[in-house]
Every structure is written in structure tokens, then in C-alpha cells.
Symmetry: C2
Subunit: 222 residues, 2 copies
């Protein structure tokens, strides 16, 4: 499968790119608003993988060109950019492509991090509302610590929750997730259930901040 | 320590009462709006514990009388009753007593369970707003599966998140939590951070509903 990581130069995009390239045979494509930046980062990832004995070609392209090359497009961009990003790449999406939304809205105040629930209900819902007809939207990878994900020496041993209204698309994304060693995908239902998943991300940050020795936290449902 | 479980005849109250009586030497007191019901349930818990070789006296009282006897008062009542319950027992609380809020607001629709965020910000905040001066409020035990908690044969192996604006009170409640075998208490900061913890409870229900073999779910931060 061909997976484009838009915002693939950012932290969560980097982690997913490296993990998929390292643990699976899927083709990974890095997207950015800046094609040069995408190419540079894609090359960096290639060097990192090469140093671990994995020889793989990672392409870097401007977002729309990256989306054009992919079957699954992960919107690893800040939450306030997801709507614009979907709009910018809409023409590059084919029927049957899958959009994946890992972003979550957070705000910080003196007490800690808090979920900033969008008016639409969730960031995943914003993507669903903006997606062209025939393109399924799946929410996943919201609660992964970027640093741990990008460190291929770190064991994951965590869960990711997957939501979507198209069961086939949800199953494909769950399979992609479980292709990554140590990552278990759990079904959390439809997109209407995305807000509680997105709200878990600021909670993970708060818990990491308040407990010595805990950082880059993930979650296991047991 | 003397711990009153108001709503101690309900599912989460039952679980905490049994666990504290079984795993610790704290005195457990069951409270209910109906004193007779409290006595009956307290007796049932005593029989259950006796069958496991633990001989312990559990008292059952009307909520205010139960609170009057306790140092720590757990509001194991439905979220729409917490405000009234605090009001009803306010005269029975002494300075230095601690109120513990485990409740969370949920609503269910065709998609699943959703967090019903109170106007005050969280259920824990409702309790804090209603608590008399000198009585500290701590949020804890929001994300425990009641059935698993009440089954003394079940291993817990889960975390509970503790929030509060009074560090001493928060520490006391964390210690009470960790007195229960298999329960780890993690600090999640102040009461302002309670909403994301409460929102985790409907998510646990959704995940249990959508994944075969998962039920009575708890969470581990790893």
C-alpha cells in the first residue's frame, strides 16, 4: 500500500513514516507544503533507515503531489490546518482513497493541557466534513507520543484507537497500524466517538508532566 | 482511616468498599439515601468478605450519618446527584475531611457513549464548587470498571488518575488508591484537568463494545 504522510516533516509524521518504512513493506511518501522540505526530510529518514540496514526509497513531495501518489493519506498536520489541507489536496484524491486524521486540538493554560473541542465535534469530524465524496475518513494515531514513535529503538507496547463510519476503510487503517511492531489497533466505533479519543491526548501530556519518570506516554486498554 | 462510600450500594461503591475492606485495614462505611438499604448492603459485603476469610465490620448508614463517621467521603453517586448529595451532607463534614469524586457524566446515542461535560467544566468541579470551606476535593476512580472492581477474584492491573488542588489531600487519596492491590494512582494535576479524565470513561465503554473479548476495561499509562 502507498501511504502519504502530509505534514510528514513534523513529529508524528516522522514517527509514522519511520515505523512503516522500518516494520512493513508499504511505500511511504512524505508530504509537506514545501516540496524541498519534504525531499530533505524524506532523505533524512532514508539515511536513518539505511543505518539500520533497511534500504528503502522514501519520496518527498508537496502535499497534493504526495496525496496523488498514495492510497492512504495521513493528515499529520496541526488541527487548525486540517480543513485547508484537505481542500488543497481534494483534487488529488481518487475514489477509494482513505484519509486518516491523527490530529487533536489542545490548548494550554496554567493548569495543564486541555482538549479544545472544535465546533464540528472533533478534528476527525472536520476532516470528514471536508473530504470529497467517495473518500473514506478514519481517525487513528491520536494518542501516540511522537518522540517514542520516532525512536526506532523504543518499544511501543501501546494501543491506538480507530474510528470511522466506513468499516472497510477502518479495517485497512487498523491493519496498517498493526503492521507497526508493538502497536495494537482497537475499534472505537464511528466518527461520532472521536472527541473522547482526541481528548485523551492532553490527558497523556498532563499525566507525563505530573509524574516523575513518566514521559512520552501512551495508553493500553486492559 | 475511615472511608464513607456514599452511594455505596451502587456498583462502583460496592467495588471500592469490597476492595478497601479486603486489601487494607481502613474502616469502610456504606452510605445510601436509604439507611436500611445501606445496612443490608453492608451486611452483604461483610458476608462476601467473611467467605474469603476476612472478618470485618462494615457499617451501613444514611449518607449524612455515614459522612459524619468518616475522614474521607467518596461520592459514588450518579453525576446528577453529586451537587445535592454534597449539600445534604455538608453539615456532617468537618474541616480536614476529604471529598472524593469518581462520577462522570455520560450520554448514550446510536453511535455510542459520549462525555456529557457539565456547564461547570466537570463533575469533579461541581463537587469542588459545592464543598464547604476547609473540605478538600479530589477527583479519582473515574475510569474503573465496576464489575471488575467488585469481583475480588479479578486482577486489576490498571491505573487511576487523581486530580485536586490540595496536594496533601491528593496524596492521601493516592495512598488510599494504592492500598488496593493492582491499582496504581497517577497524578493528573489540578481539578481543572478533570474533564479529560471523566471523558475517558465513555471511551472505555465504546472500546469494550466494539472489540470482541474486551470488557470491563481499564487503562494503563505506559
Amino acid at each position: 500500500m502507498r501511504i502519504a504522510l502530509l505534514g510528514g516533516t513534523g513529529d508524528i509524521g516522522e514517527g509514522l513514516a519511520l515505523r512503516w518504512a522500518y516494520h512493513t513493506r508499504h511505500e511511504v511518501i512524505v508530504g509537506s507544503r514545501d516540496a524541498q522540505k519534504a525531499r530533505t526530510k524524506a532523505e533524512e529518514y532514508g539515511v536513518e533507515l539505511d543505518s539500520r540496514g533497511v534500504e528503502v526509497e522514501i519520496g518527498g513531495y508537496e502535499n497534493a503531489a504526495a496525496a496523488d501518489r498514495a492510497d492512504v493519506v495521513v493528515l499529520a498536520v496541526p488541527p487548525y490546518h486540517v480543513g485547508d489541507t484537505v481542500e488543497a489536496i481534494a483534487g488529488s484524491l481518487d475514489e477509494g482513497d482513505i484519509l486518516v486524521s491523527p490530529a487533536t486540538g489542545m490548548k494550554r493554560d496554567e493548569d495543564g493541557f486541555h482538549y479544545h473541542k472544535p465546533g464540528a465535534g472533533s478534528v476527525t469530524r472536520i476532516v470528514a466534513d471536508a473530504a470529497p465524496d467517495g473518500v473514506a475518513v478514519v481517525g487513528a494515531f491520536h494518542n501516540l507520543a511522537a518522540g517514542r514513535l520516532a525512536n526506532l529503538d523504543a518499544d511501543l507496547g501501546v494501543d491506538t484507537l480507530v474510528v470511522g463510519d466506513d468499516d472497510d476503510a477502518k479495517g485497512i487503517v487498523a491493519d496498517l497500524a498493526e503492521g507497526i511492531d508493538g502497536l495494537r489497533a482497537l475499534d472505537a466505533g464511528g466518527i461520532a466517538n472521536a472527541a473522547e479519543i482526541e481528548a485523551l491526548t492532553p490527558l497523556l501530556v498532563n499525566v507525563a508532566m505530573h509524574n516523575d519518570g513518566l514521559h512520552d506516554l501512551g495508553v493500553r486498554f486492559v
